[in-house]
């Protein structure tokens, strides 16, 4: 079975990359990349009580998810979701570990329910109203590839429209020294079984052992190497350039993922 899907919407956020329309000319090489701290708004689609409880990982995940759904003019309630992250709410993890190492181990219920790896998926369900399947994955540095593979098997085997949401955020110290992630980052792809007026490209995925592609701009390549979900950027660079052909994405050694791209317009 060929693992194919139509890419109908993209969401992107990272340092110096505010959203997909702003990032597109940068990835295409038409506008220079300028690094600056990432800013992300609290998700307005959540009720105020939930909105107050969201940390950076949830904000980034929901922002790119929302952007991809809007770009594809899709109904989120009809899409399955695959969330993939090498960590989760890493500030929350640090706060819990500090409390549990102290004399008073009373932790807050909100901290606890935000500690689950699937917290962003849970908030996405509350925000979007989607009662469709949502899965949440981790494959350490291969998390983007693992998410893309799961999303494409959903599209190809189940015939679902699937929203892939890959995101990461840094750990504070002392975990940062053990797992240095320099910045938060998020990529969302709305992947559909049928071509629509919004389809930007048809993609086909296969396992490979070719070396992953690097990005043209050194600063962007540094992000790709340092942040697991940014390892999806070579695919977005090709889409930004309107190029067909093949890109190779990082996955789990000795495997990589080869993606054949056929632009739709």
């Amino acid at each position: 079975m060929k693992l194919t899907a139509y890419l109908d919407g993209i969401g992107l956020i990272g340092p110096g990359l505010d959203n997909w329309p702003a990032a597109r000319p940068i990835l295409a090489g038409a506008t220079p990349y300028e690094s600056r701290p990432l800013t992300v708004a609290a998700p307005q689609s959540l009720p105020p009580a939930e909105r107050r409880r969201t940390g950076l990982a949830i904000k980034v995940a929901l922002a790119v998810a929302q952007e991809a759904v809007a770009a594809g003019q899709l109904d989120a309630r009809q899409l399955a979701a695959v969330f993939s992250s090498s960590g989760a709410d890493n500030d929350n993890c640090d706060a819990l570990c500090k409390t549990l190492a102290s004399d008073d181990r009373s932790i807050s219920p909100t901290r606890f329910h935000n500690s689950v790896h699937n917290a962003p998926a849970g908030y996405w369900g509350i925000a979007s109203g989607a009662m469709t399947p949502a899965t949440v994955l981790c494959a350490h540095d291969g998390s983007f590839g693992a998410g893309l593979l799961e999303a494409l098997t959903q599209v190809a085997v189940e015939g679902w429209g699937t929203l892939l949401v890959a995101y990461d955020m840094p750990y504070p110290e002392p975990l940062h020294a053990k797992r240095p992630l320099p910045a938060a980052f998020g990529i969302a792809l709305a992947l559909m079984p049928e071509r629509s007026a919004h389809s930007q490209a048809r993609i086909a995925l296969s396992l490979s052992d070719a070396a992953p592609d690097a990005l043209a701009a050194p600063e962007l390549e540094a992000l790709r190497r340092a942040i697991p979900c940014a390892r999806g950027l070579p695919l977005l660079q090709a889409i930004a350039r309107g190029e067909g052909g093949r890109v190779v994405l990082d996955y789990l050694a000795p495997l990589s993922l080869a993606v054949e791209i056929e632009p739709c317009r």
């Binding site: 219920p109 606890f112 329910h113 998926a121 509350i126 994955l137 098997t153 190809a156 002392p174 797992r179």
Partner: protein
Amino acid sequence: MLNSLWLSHFTAASCLGHGLAPTLAALRTQKGGLVPCAFETVTDLATYVGEVAGVDEAPLPASLAEYECRNNRLAYLGLQQDGFNAAVGAAAARYGRRRIGVLLGTSTSGILQTEQAYRRRDPATGALPDDFHYRTTHNTYSVADFVRTAFNLEGPAVVVSTACSSSAKVFASAARMIAAGVIDAAVVGGVDSLCLTTLYGFNSLELLSSEPCRPYDADRNGLSIGEAAAFILLERPADSLDADAVLLLGAGESSDAHHMSSPHPEGLGARMAMEAALTTAGLQPADVDYINLHGTATPSNDAAEGRAVATLFGNQVACSSTKGATGHTLGAAGGLEAVISALALQQGFLPGGVNTRCVDPEIPIQYLTANLQRAPRRVLSNSFGFGGTNCSLILGRAQ
């Protein structure tokens, strides 16, 4: 429709024992494994836990030492049971190392290692100790990486971490990968181990029972946390199967879209997952002979799940939760309860729930408190998680 897959080998380690024989013996005699919590340094919580015996005394082989943590030790202990190790080795020889996926569920991975490392932070700098290895212990992927490395496999691997439905959802993902031809077989299941985050976390939500948990009891008052490793080798059915071979017939997934830590009050998401499992199996509710309930023994879970089961199945199908015996093994629960369901199918009995003294009269389902000597042909197993992620599996006998 799901193409049926064969659970060609399976095993589990929980507080009921290491491997299938003690697990079956405990179920047959309705003996639970919950004991007052004395885990690690946890002396201030009045609760019961389902702790696996001997985990601390079973270090990893030197070649895998960087993976040392309770979760991976429990995984390794599980892999040694019932010839599972040899079965994966044989499958790798048969299909090739790249053709076998590793898809495992966990909720907390090796977080205990980090919790303990935080106590040993450098007093001056706050730095974590040098012997703390993030990637191979704390990271959520660590257990799948560990299993892939231990078997020297080179295929796709992933951890599904959707809280308490994690190791049910791996069956659905693996079935898709096999259907797509990406892999020929998969090591699926789940491993979750006791840690401070879950003990103090469920305590903060006031969801821990002060006695061994009593699923579906009118006076149920919370859950008991357990730990387990459950492994299943999933592959396409052999040309000729023994009559008692167990097949994965269906898998259904849904989301509640309701609340982070409470189920949908009407059990709508739960019902959708069970309906989807029936649809993918091409079955009707009347075709199901036993339901292994999620049945955590919290007031809200059992009420919502019970409502969903009653809506779909009425009171015609025998049901029970085995969490009274094993505790709630969280990210391992889906895998452990799939193994228990497979034992029920092969051995021809329906396990009654333990600890439940008076079944909640408000929940109109047929809840078993004693074992029934009745051979089921098809079993549905429910797993629902925090954040509203639901998964139901349907397993059946080959004949």
